[in-house]
Amino acid sequence: MIFDWGFAFSILPAFGQALVVTMQATLAGMALALVLGLVWAIARRSRNRLVAFCAGFLVEFIRSTPLLVQLYFLFYVLPLWGPRITPLETGILALGLHYSAYTAEVYRAGINGVARGQWEAALALNLGRAVTWRTVILPQAVVPILPALGNYLVALFKETPLLSAITLLELLHTAKLIGADTFRYLEPLSLVGALFLILSLMASTLTRKLEKACDRFRHG
């Protein structure tokens, strides 16, 4: 049995809806990761030692445990506490939480990259902590780390197939269902692989462009 192109084309449309779901999970998950990661990064610099320690531990814990297990935890345990959320929402939450541990590290590097003199000038101008963060530190911290954040967006996108484990009809789950129906796994699974390859290669190219643009911004 070899690859059947006719069959492959016939099942292609079935992936349309799945691609939409995958994109929703990716973008919403990344948005959550960007916000939460910033919270952890700022909390880690808190003057309150306990807050700083807890944020550091949380980041380390999330980073050293599997996304799949975190996904199961949220999927099976959250409903016991009350909130009724859909698999898509659970997936977004898990992806966002998991990748917030990575974006937190990226933000941290960006924040550490801002020269000490900038904090000192802000203090000498009596700017206050909130204004200093918002207008002086973060604008300078974020531009150099945009490429790194872009890489994590791609990484997060590639982890969306895990959401098939909590019944979400994304690309991989759709392929599995087609395989179970037709007893042909080769074509649907290869199609999904090819889709991921094409999209991540495109995204990586964009990220590299972004990197160049950021370099220009910093040095020119």
Partner: protein, 217 residues
């Protein structure tokens, strides 16, 4: 819960076995592909690039499913453990190749020239001069990759391999104690990861003693 201890222990064994096996595969693949990327021969470079982009561009779970469910249909069959070790190892190796390539190309040109001037063969230069210096820079990112690998082993539970996550799922279905079971599972992975981090730090410290290029910097 005590009744389920044997099941969890056998799951732990599978997870550790998978991690170590895949680490070995990744180690070989990373060095082979990383050095091939710096080869003078274009086909060698191209082949390495295809391998790296293929595995980094697609998802580990899709790769696993493809090897386990699709490949048998063209006559290539692996048991679940082999498929797991192979896919996870090659996947991690593709990321590792970039680490190897980066570390090798960060060694100053003068070091190659100095080895050349001493009439060392290319293999000798690589083995005695370049690699010992480059390895130090590889250890910290390799540690991170190893932890990513450990986390990725949980994926094999989806091809019905009885690793930690799989056993925990079985346990949850049997006891319906979702909270405690998964909290315990997260805790075990955390401890495993911390152990690995500790090991890689030790390695890093051991390798990092007194390295200097013996020139002005």
């Amino acid at each position: 819960m005590v009744d389920y201890l044997p099941a969890m222990l056998s799951g732990l064994k599978v997870t550790v076995l998978l991690t170590l096996g895949a680490m070995a595969v990744a180690f070989v693949a990373a060095f082979a592909a990383g050095m091939a990327r710096l080869s003078r021969r274009a086909p060698v470079r191209g082949l390495a690039l295809v391998y790296i982009e293929l595995f980094r561009g697609t998802s580990a779970l899709v790769q696993l499913f493809w090897v386990y469910f699709a490949l048998p249909l063209v006559g290539i069959r692996f048991d679940a453990v082999t498929a797991g070790i192979l896919v996870l190892g090659l996947n991690t190796g593709a990321y590792g190749a970039e680490v190897v390539r980066g570390a090798l190309s960060a060694i100053p040109r003068e070091q190659y020239q100095a080895a050349w001037a001493l009439n060392l063969s290319p293999a000798q230069a690589l083995w005695r001069v370049i690699l010992p210096q480059a390895v130090i820079a590889m250890v910290p990112p390799a540690g991170n990759l190893a932890i990513e690998l450990l986390k990725n082993t949980a994926l094999v539970s989806l091809i019905t391999l009885g690793d930690l996550t799989f056993q925990a799922q079985t346990l949850r279905a049997a006891t319906l104690e979702s909270g405690p079971v998964f909290a315990l599972l997260l805790g075990i992975y955390f401890l495993l990861a911390q152990t690995m981090r500790f090991g890689f730090r030790r390695l890093e410290n051991r390798l990092a003693h007194g390295q200097d290029y013996g020139g002005v910097r």
